[in-house]
């Protein structure tokens, strides 16, 4: 991995530009790699990139007035579409292989497009990364859907790569315009 400054302090702003570029490159490649694993249905391989203390969370978004904008998303501990720890997420992954997961058999065709990745924190061991995603999905012969929004990830250095320690997914949708959320984001 790149430069190793003092731990637990956000040193991203102070990094040399060349170190920043290197780190940004590694983060981008990681995000593309996991998108590739999901889009090629290598879910168990994707799960290898998940840290034991993962929090995988998608709150519910609501249409609210600007006056009530602080209630736009549900909060931690309230209802959510996803609120998974490692064990929960492993169940979702294993569901793909269970041979009776009808929502994914025949399987969806997904395309995870990830961009606008911004590193906001770096303490020498963990990174905060905010990215935009656009996930397109087709199912069977007549269903084409799209999901888009923002992800707030925590990536932890793991050898030459990272582990995903947090994925908070903020959809741009309120009422989900789809039969299900059987895909991963």
């Amino acid at each position: 991995m790149t430069a190793t400054p003092a731990v637990t302090e956000n040193t991203w702003e102070r990094l040399q530009i060349v170190d920043r570029i290197e780190l940004q490159y590694q983060v981008d490649q990681f995000l593309y790699h996991e998108a590739h694993l999901l889009d090629t249905r290598q879910y168990r391989e994707w799960f290898q990139l998940v840290a034991l203390d993962i929090h995988y969370w998608m709150p519910i978004r609501r249409t609210v007035t600007i006056r009530n904008i602080e209630r736009e998303f549900t909060r931690l501990g309230d209802m959510a579409f996803f609120d998974d720890d490692y064990k929960d997420l492993r169940m979702r992954v294993e569901k793909f292989y269970s041979s009776s997961s009808w929502s994914e058999d025949p399987p969806s065709r997904t395309r995870h497009l990830v961009s606008n990745a911004r590193i906001t924190e770096w303490d020498g061991n963990e990174l905060s990364v905010c990215s935009a995603f656009h996930m397109l999905r087709t199912r069977l012969d007549d269903t084409s859907e799209q999901f888009h929004g923002r992800r707030e990830d925590r990536l932890r250095v793991n050898g030459q790569s990272f582990l995903l320690a947090q994925r908070h997914i903020y959809l741009d949708h309120t009422v989900i315009q789809a039969t299900n959320l059987s895909s991963l984001f």
């Binding site: 309230d78 209802m79 294993e94 569901k95 009808w102 299900n180």
Partner: protein, 464 residues
């Protein structure tokens, strides 16, 4: 496609009667796709029935509001300045524009985004821009308030509304079976709504989404993956002991039940023993009380009084006709809101007992956030079944083939307890689905509430 719900449609009673053949348990598939039948349902079911609006804890404070739907009619549910819960059509009385465009929040008043007409929390027209210079002071504001629901009533903190002034009182509408359904929730003690309603669209007819909640035949197939990955154990997937309660107007409870013998074992336990049984693993429990391992939570002793000796044994899924499902753990409610013949919006409300410890809350949330809703480990796999069961009716040849609801038809018996409560204790069956469509047919045949009250099906006795 909204199905032209606004225009009046008329069918001969004999034609309506032919859509569901109660003797054979056969459904004419066109009831799932025909826009005219959908329009008739809007008039004779949705504009007439009582509908769940919200729980008192969804709108605790003055100015809290919440948007819901009564069929195709959007409504605002608001707590007014006097603490009353008001239900009003969400249409500006001026040009009909949607008045409140947020789905929830808190406000002092509702102002239309079109011309600025402003309404109080109880629906009175408060101010009109240009009242003097443009209307010449001639608009009588008293005549142009919002349209209110005909009646708003609550049962144990759950607010319902009806658009029909001739509807019976809520308590009578729910009847014993509907009340037992809600009691399954209130058994947990005082409830508070958990923030966040899961909402998603499924391209199916609302009735298929509703009748599926009674269906314990599909569970073991549709949801097999949830068992394989260890989310639920097999005994939960298809309990052999089923108890069905049928209620007037189409309410029912169907699913797992506690047999009379099992209930006798439970009756001998103190509440403390029941709580500790609930906390045990299925294996631990089996050693102590071999016949009560299938369903939980185990209800406290006083609930037998509240729900009756038969009601207390019903652990299945209640539906309050037409479209309110009280779910497995009895801490969630689901509305299946019609959005056109081929489109249903599914909502999941979640509640938490006030007296739960953090650990109880964590366990309950874990189960609920992983069961239902579009990402639920169960519900992920439901939607496409409903979509394609609906769409099958679009082909003329496919439409000629009826839906089959014949399971256990004529094979079971309604038994009446000395208390007067009736149940069907059996294996997996389709009694509640048949009851749902039989009552659905009653609603459509009746011109008005008076006719429905006179002609509605009587809860059956004897062979069913």
């Amino acid at each position: 496609m909204n199905g032209g719900a606004q225009s009046n449609v008329n069918f001969d009673t004999s034609e309506i009667a032919a859509w569901y053949d109660a003797d054979q348990g056969l459904i004419d598939k066109k009831i799932f796709v025909d826009p005219k039948i959908y329009a008739l349902e809007q008039q004779r079911i949705f504009a007439r029935a009582w509908h769940f609006m919200c729980h008192e804890s969804h709108v605790p404070n003055t100015g809290d509001y919440f948007i819901n739907h009564i069929g195709q009619d959007p409504v605002i549910v608001a707590r007014d300045d006097h603490g009353q819960v008001q239900v009003m059509l969400n249409n500006c009385s001026h040009r009909g524009n949607v008045l409140c465009r947020a789905e929830m929040g808190n406000t002092h008043s509702f102002q239309c985004s079109y011309h600025g007409w402003n309404f109080t929390l109880d629906g009175k027209l408060k101010s009109v821009p240009g009242h003097e210079p443009f209307y010449r002071g001639k608009l009588n504001k008293d005549c142009w308030g919002l349209t209110h629901a005909a009646k708003v009533e609550q049962y144990k903190g759950f607010y319902f509304a009806t658009l029909d002034a001739d509807a019976p009182a809520l308590r009578d509408y729910l009847g014993e079976v509907g009340r037992i359904g809600i009691d399954q929730m209130s058994v947990h003690g005082e409830l508070v709504a958990v923030d966040g309603i899961q909402k998603n669209i499924i391209e199916c007819n609302w009735k298929i989404a509703v009748d599926n909640l009674y269906d314990w035949y599909h569970v073991n197939v549709t949801h097999r993956s949830a068992m394989k990955i260890g989310f639920v154990n097999p005994s939960v997937m298809q309990p052999m002991q089923q108890t069905v309660l049928l209620g007037e107007y189409g309410h029912a409870i169907s699913g797992p039940g506690i047999s009379e013998e099992q209930q006798k074992v439970l009756d001998s336990l103190t509440d403390e023993e029941r709580v500790s049984l609930d906390a045990m693993s299925p294996d631990e429990r089996a050693k102590l009380a071999p016949r009560i391992t299938e369903r939980r939570p185990i209800r406290p002793a006083n609930m037998k009084q509240e729900m009756g000796p038969v009601g207390v044994r019903a652990m299945g899924h209640p539906n309050i006709f037409p479209n309110l499902w009280i779910s497995t753990r009895a801490l969630q409610l689901s509305l299946r809101i019609p959005r056109g013949p081929l489109k249903t919006e599914v909502w999941w409300f979640t509640f938490m007992p006030k007296n739960y410890t953090d650990e109880q809350r964590r366990i309950a949330m874990k189960f609920m956030s992983h069961s239902f809703g579009p990402a639920g480990l169960f519900e992920q796999d439901d939607g496409e079944n409903w979509t394609y069961s609906t769409k099958a009716a679009l082909g003329p040849a496919s439409q000629r083939q009826p839906h089959n609801l014949q399971m256990a038809l004529g094979e079971d018996e309604v038994r009446e307890d000395p208390s007067g409560q009736k149940s069907i204790d059996s294996a997996v069956n389709e009694h509640a689905q048949r009851w749902h469509y039989r009552c659905w047919s009653d609603w459509l045949k009746a011109e008005n509430w008076k006719e429905l009250i006179i002609n509605k099906s009587v809860v059956p006795s004897g062979k069913v």
